[in-house]
Symmetry: C2
DNA sequence: TGAGTTATTGACCATATGGTTCCCTATATA
DNA sequence: TATATAGGGAACCATATGGTCAATAACTCA
């Protein structure tokens, strides 16, 4: 019987996710990860194989913890569509209100050189596409947009994803909270 | 009388700008710059002092070559406001149509760890703010928005900047051209 | 021609980087 | 108690990184 692992894989991945979120992939160095995860170099390699594999695992966890919950909100048939969309944008705005300017791991990654890697691009675009589809579901349940054709609804959903990404990046870039809020107000005023 | 420089500073900065645009700041290594600029290590340091100083110069050049021309388009009083905005978004979409997925140095930088550096953040937000103000000027000349209060117009302008940034990042992230086009069509259809 | 001044260059420098290795350790089982 | 197995950890490894340095070169001027 072998020696049991002293850390939980899932806990370690989440810690790594937070380090990558703060520093980006290129800016995150092994010492950053080791400190952030509280494990040694050999343990990291034994458990995850490489920095890149760990990054892919972190992106999947981000999906699970941040993207998929937004998708679920957008698809919740018990709430009016515009309220669902409003809630998701409020969720994106909220961190800026408390000084958290990390933006969104998905959007930061989309804007980085990492997105040139096929495996990363696949994950990034899968997440973006699922958000778009979920926006479309919410729009179908939004009175002002319920009469749209499928094609028009997808176009509007693409535009909402684009606005969501823009909001996240402008948050990361340091734009003033008031500017973010007023921009978002315009997004949401069109849903009513 | 001292030895004349063999390269033009402005030409070298532009070459560096293109390297940073492709690889981001963290992902760009000295050999990338040396190859892209066609000069030696010592020459680069003599002329620019450090990698970061060169990056700041590259950001300023990007402003001059890509941001300021957009601002000028948006402020051109001889063209209807909605056409001006449409032209700027078309300019952002165009590279994707030809396979150029670098996005926009400004937006990529906003989403990266570089934006945590005060000097970088200052330049990034100056550029974003100027675009917003220019969008506001164009909106004032757009029939559908000409009756807005100053405050409402600024909110709409903030939203246009947010959409512009989102478009650039989604381009970089690898989203399908059709999705980018349809999202942009929605943006522009609201101006008419 | 020599001097003064700055540019070019590539070797060098002191760390930093992602990954490897091997000794030691923790566990269950026979 | 010995064995098998996988985990922990820190030293090690082979390059890579941003920056430095000293020899050489390009120019004008006296």
């Amino acid at each position: 019987m072998s020696r049991p692992r002293e850390f939980e894989i899932d806990v370690a991945i989440e810690k790594a996710m937070n380090v990558f979120w703060t520093h980006g992939y290129d800016g995150t160095k092994l010492p950053d990860l080791l400190n952030g995860m509280g494990i040694a170099r050999g343990s990291l390699y034994k458990a995850f194989g490489s920095k890149k594999e760990l990054f892919l695992r972190a992106l999947d966890l981000y999906d699970h913890k941040h993207v998929q919950p937004a998708v679920i909100i957008l698809k919740d048939g018990n709430v009016p569509g515009d309220v669902r969309i409003s809630n998701v944008f409020a969720g994106a705005l909220k961190p800026a209100g408390t000084g958290d300017r990390r933006g969104c791991l998905l959007c930061n990654t989309a804007a980085s050189t990492s997105s040139e890697d096929p495996e990363v691009a696949l994950i990034v675009n899968n997440q973006l596409d699922r958000m778009t589809k979920a926006f479309a579901v919410a729009l179908a349940d939004t009175t002002a947009f319920s009469g749209l054709s499928e094609r028009e609804r997808m176009a509007e959903a693409n535009n909402l994803t684009l606005q969501y990404v823009g909001l996240r990046v402008m948050t990361r870039g340091g734009q003033e909270l008031k500017a973010l809020e007023s921009a978002t107000d315009q997004t949401l005023s069109r849903l009513r």
